[in-house]
Each structure stands twice: as C-alpha cells, then as structure tokens.
Amino acid sequence: MKTKMKLISAAVLLAATPLGAAAQEQALVIGMPIEPPNLDPTTAAPVAIREVTWLNLYEGLVQIDRNGEVQPLLAESWEVSEDGLTYNFRLREGVTFHDGTTFEASDVKFSFDRARSPESTNAQKQIFEPIEEIETPDDHTVVIRLSEPSGNFLYYLGWGDAVIVAPESADSNQTQPVGTGPFQFADWVRGDRVELTAYEDYWDAENIHLDRVTFRFINDAQAQVAALRAGDVHAFPNLGAPELFAELSRDERFSAVAGNTEGEIVAGLNNKRPPLDDVRVRQALMNGIDRSILIEGAYSGYGQPIGSHFSPNHPAYVDTTDVLPYDPERARELLAEAGYADGLMLTIKMPQMAYASRSAELIAALLSEIGVQLEIQPTEFPAQWIEEVFTNKDYEMTIVAHTEPLDIDIYQREGYYFQYEDQEFAELIEEAGRTTDENARFDLYAQAQRKLAEDVPALFLFQLPKLGVWDARLEGMWENTPIPSNVVRDVRWAE
C-alpha cells in the first residue's frame, strides 16, 4: 500500500508537468466550474455535489446509464407487483462500504428512512413520499410497499438523492464521505480540489481503470481553457465558454463533444400578474422569439431549440417547436387582440450566468420588434433570485435553466414561481405519475408537453448543451448528462 501511494504521488507530480506521462499512470484530473459545498448528495441540492460523487463515490439501488435508462446497480434484479405497489429488490452480494462494513438490506432501509424523516434535509423528499413501508426479510432482499402507484419510482431511485449510505458513517458524509462506489474519498483541499482513489475492494474492481481521480474547481472560463491547454486539467465535461469551444474542437490534442444536458433554458413568466395572465400575451411573446438567434448569440450555435419543457434525451420527447414558431406578424396581432396594439412594458430579472444575460439581451432586442419594451434588471443568482423570484414571486419575467431530469411537473406544483396552476395540465401530470405502463405514461407526457407549448407558462428557448472537452487519449467519458454527474467508472487512458 505504501509503495502504491508513493507511485501515485509520483504520478501526480508527473501529471503536473504539461501533458505529462499521465497516460501510463491512470490518473485523471477533471475540471469543474463550481466547488461542491459538501459531499453528501442526500442532504443538499447543489449539482456540484452530484458531479463529484454520483456513481463515483456513492451508488444507489439502480443507476441511470449514459442513455438515461434505468439499470441494476446495488440491486441485481427486482420485481414489481401487478398493482404497482410492491417492489421486491434482490441485492448484490459481496458489496462493502469504503470503511469495510458490509452492504446489507438494513442499509437500504436506513438510507430511505433517513431521507424521509422529519429532520431530513433531502432536497428531493418527494421521491420517498409514496413509500409506505420498507421490509427486509433477509440481508439481501428489500421489499418496498407504496401507498399509491408511482410510474417513475425506479427512475428516481437512480438519482443522487437516493444513494445508499451506512448508519455508521452517514452523519459525517458531508466532510468524510463513505459509499460503496468504485472510488473512495482521499482528500479535499477546500477551494482547490477533491481527490478520490480507487477502492481496492470494490465489487467490480476489475472493470475500473483509473487509480486516482482529482476534481479541480476553476470558475473562470478563460482560466478553464488555459488549464486544459497547459495540461493541468485533462477534462472539462462542462466548459463554461461556448465561444472558445469551437477553437478547442479544432485542436487535435482534444476531443470536443457537444452533447445534451437535462437543462431546459426557459424564460419564466409570472402567470398571475397582468398582462401575463392573458394567454394571448404569452403566446405573442413566444411568437416574437427566434430561438435560432438565441442559440447562435448566447451559445455560439450549440443547443437544441425546445417548444416545451422536456428534454430531447428522453424517449417521451415530442418536438413542439412548431406550435408557436417565430412569427412577429402573428405576435403583433395577438397583442392587438389582447388590447396592447400600442405595445407594452415588461421587466425581466436576469441572473448573471452568461447564457442568461446574453439570452435576455437578445430577447429584449427581438421583443422590441413586436412593440414590447423589456427592462433588464440584473439579479444575483442564486441568493437574490431565489428570494425575489422563486419565493416571493416578485417578478414579471426571468430566465434560468432547469437542470433536474424529468421536471415537467414543476408547472403543476402549487406555489411554484410560474404560478401557472392549470387544472387540465395538473390532471395529466398526476395521471402520468400514477401510470406504470410505459407507453401509456409516455403518451400522457406527450399530451402534457403539447399543453405547455400552447399555454406558454414560460417561454421555451433551448436545451442547455453540454460542451465537453477532454484529452483525445481519454476513453469512456459521458457525452450527454441524462442526470447531473461526471461518471468516471468507465474512463481510461488509451494504450
């Protein structure tokens, strides 16, 4: 062990020289824009926590693979009863946590009970809401009974919020994370990097190639590119600067892959505040926006236009961009019908993220063509935005990316900041949630997408692209993120 550690530190030193001999040592340095505040995805929401830990450090009963499909992980197999109320999981044997304790059915029960307890600060508590009872007939079987059928229950169990933790270590996971994943926690230099090393007793250790993974936190887009060029960082799965991405894609030292995230960039509207409570006004705004101009201007042409709030990665996606296409003529007619033939004034609360500020400025320019004057109010994200827009609903228009997978149901939630509250839509979403037959559920989601596209509770702009850049000799990086993550279990350096 000692000699291995020495070898590894030698590897790290070597990797510090530009484009060094890292290829032989199987060490990987991944760059991320934001540092996670802690390393426990079951107690806080920030995406950065999942980007370091999900499937690297922690594992769930099931996983979501690179195509967005649910696959076995800590559960080898499962059966769902006819009525969709009982899930019987058969657990994998021979799995241990990084502290050496054995993974058993009681850990699953502990993890889910902890997540749904009143003291829990789990950011996605609704995942566990349908659970009525968890039984552990033996060490390798877990039976979960639901109070009502939940069509997406298995899918949600694949999220970072539902990973399995051990009672011995759960309380210190924020700073000393212990999971069952292929990599274990080694060090965290706050403000700089988190280091993980391969876990020797991992149940699938022979298929893990990397010895060490370092996550470095570099916020400035220019500094990100400089770190890549200098060889300090081998991969940036989400490069912050679309305008530099094209340049890097011409550099043969790098693979530059434009994939999709689950993030929909939408300009949220306050559906209760006049004049936005009039569907004709909202439709006019949508008709006034040329999505291709936004994508070109805000993201250098990367990103797929969307007509509703649904990821093109998902099998239930339907293209609704033609429901209210760019048509300034029609937009002016609609405004005149609604009584605003002379135009109107609106304000947009604009967060500082580059995609948001660039889009907001382009939207303002486009809307002025149809007689809508848009006043831009810079609003600090997340602090000020959450308070003013999200909590107090003190806004007319705003713009953010909604990055959670399968989150069309936010339009149905009571008190959510769009304040859409449409009965027909709510029924579609509730019905979809209860439906366990996949085809029937997807059909309901298709109807819900069309309903949103027609009612435009928010302006649907484009899917946030994932601009990944990494050393061309790296294999196995994920091109899309069907769920926020940087999964490195399949990553290796080419021979």
Binding site: P37, A226, A227, A230, E380
Partner: protein
C-alpha cells in the same frame, strides 16, 4: 511612544467593534436565504425549516450577533454553514495562501516602484522619466485580473513555464508553492507598482526643490549621495502612506486575482461564501480583512514615527 501605542490600540478595538456591527447588519438585510440556496428549487417547506434550524437561523438576530462576538473572543469563529467545518480551520488554510501572496505583491511592487520613481525624478522630463510615466499610465489602466489572464496565456499556455493556476500546497514542496504564487503576485503588484512609482516620483521631485537639498549640493555632496541620504528618506513618507492605503486595494484585488488563478486563498473563500450566502464565513472573513487593513494602517503610523523623528515627540 507607549501612549501613542495605547491610544492607537484603543481606537483599533473600537473600529473593529463598529465594523463587526456594520457587517452583521448588512448581512441581515441582504436578500438570500442560505438554507434555500443549499436545498435548491425543489425543496419543500418542512425540509427548509429543518435546515434553517440546523444552521441556527431560527434564532433572533441579537442572540446570533452576541454569540458571534463571544465566539470571537474565545477564538471560536463558528462552523461554516455550507462546508460544515470550523471557520478557523478554513481561514488558517487560506491565510497560508493570501498572506504570502500579499507580501510577495508588496515586495515586488515596492522593489519596482521606488527605483523607478527615483530614476524618473532624477531624470525629470527626460526619456527615462517619460518611460516610467508611460509604464505608470499603462499599469494603472490595466485591471489586475485581466493582466493575470495575459500572464497565464503567455507563460502557461504558450511557454508552458508555469501551471495555469492552482496551488500545490506548502507541505509537499515550498519551491513549487512559491512558483505558483509568482504570476498572481506579479498580476497583483503591477497596478500598485504603477501608482507607487508615480507617488515616489512626485514626492522626490518636491523634495528636490527644497532649500536643504540645495544646501547639501552647495556644501559639495554629489547628486547620488544627496538623493540617497537626504531626499529619499524625506520622500518616503507619502510613499508609505500610499502603501498603507493600497493594502485595502491589494486585498480587494486578491479576490479577483485568486479567482483567475484559482488559488485557494481568503479572497476566493469570500467570493464563494458570498454566492452561497455562507453568512458565518462572510462575517468572519470580512471582519478579518477589516482587521488586517486596520492593523496595516497601525503599522504605517509606526513607520511614520520611524521615518520622521519629530512625530515621536508629539505624544
């Protein structure tokens, strides 16, 4: 002298108390709920309430302020709301980056500025003077974070001599750690050097016009000796004043430069704590910055006394 020290020290304490109150009040009225930031847009009300209680946000403001002050006195800076580790630990790690960075920047800027200012003044209205003034113009005009980016592009991306930011830590190899601080220190030092060089130049020029300089020259001292023995020491008082005032700019500059070079320093900690609304860390770090600035000004006052013996008598 001792009385001067005591009086200075008392005003230092009062200033710090006022600063702590100002910081606390500003953070109370600043929009942004740290619990809501941690839990994101999907969180339910009961979850938020649970986290607020864990963070101690459900307690009245005056209680939290007194707790904070009391903790300070016993050296307990509290627990970071987001990182969940003690702030003392976080700050100690960060000071090990920021203090050496600031010291290096001061050394570099002084080493550059004082000779440049002297040369310019000694060659008033000649080519050397024009050159120094041009440098000073450019140095003041260039923002230090942008200059830092230029340094990275040239020395890291193009020449490959330095890594493009990051910090290896002092433990492993102090030489590498110093090397990692060199480019950011230069980026931080350039605007300071430009200002200092101008101040040195004009101050030296002013002294050069004084009667005692003419006397010194008249009694046969060479230009060089006059400059070094009589002019420089007298000219340094305004220079030291400006250096003291610049310290707060240096601290502010460190926030930007540390971000560009991704150095895990105090400035970057503050920047991150700000966007996460980690109120405990913000309060501690801002107060620490305030204390540093006040302390440096205190030292500047002492430096006056050393430079100008008359000031020692005034107490």
């Amino acid at each position: 002298m001792i009385l001067l020290l005591l009086r200075r020290f008392a005003s230092l304490i009062v200033t710090l108390l006022l600063a702590s109150l100002a910081i606390f009040v500003v953070l109370e009225v600043l929009p942004g709920d740290p619990a809501a930031i941690m839990l994101g847009t999907e969180a339910r009300e009961d979850t938020l309430a649970a986290l607020r209680q864990q963070m101690g946000l459900d307690r009245p403001a005056y209680e939290r302020y007194l707790d904070w002050l009391g903790g300070m006195l016993t050296g307990d800076l509290g627990l970071s709301m987001t990182y969940r580790v003690s702030v003392s630990e976080l700050v100690a790690d960060r000071l090990a980056v920021t203090i050496p960075l600031a010291v290096m920047a001061i050394l570099i800027s002084t080493a550059l500025a004082v000779p440049l200012g002297l040369i310019a003044a000694a060659n008033h209205e000649k080519v050397a003077d024009r050159g120094v003034m041009l440098f000073a113009q450019i140095g003041v005009a260039i923002p230090n974070f942008w200059f830092g980016l230029l340094l990275i592009l040239f020395f890291s991306s193009y020449l490959g001599w330095f890594s493009a930011g990051g910090f290896p830590g002092w433990a492993a190899n102090p030489a590498l750690a110093l090397k990692a601080l060199l480019l950011p220190a230069i980026a931080l030092a350039l605007p300071q050097a430009a200002i200092l060089a101008r101040v040195t130049r004009s101050s030296v020029l002013e002294i050069l016009g004084e009667d005692f300089v003419r006397t010194a020259r008249a009694k046969g001292l060479t230009r060089r000796v006059t400059l070094h023995r009589h002019v420089l020491r007298n000219a340094l008082i305004p220079v030291v004043t400006v250096m003291g005032m610049q310290f707060s700019f240096l601290v502010a500059g460190a926030i930007l430069v540390e971000n560009v070079f991704t150095l895990p320093g105090l400035g970057r900690l503050l920047f991150q704590a700000m966007s996460q609304r980690d109120l405990v860390v913000i309060k501690d770090v801002v107060l620490l910055f305030a204390a540093l600035v006040i302390l440096v000004n205190f030292l500047v006052d002492l430096a006056y006394a050393w430079l100008d013996p008359r000031l020692r008598q005034r107490t």
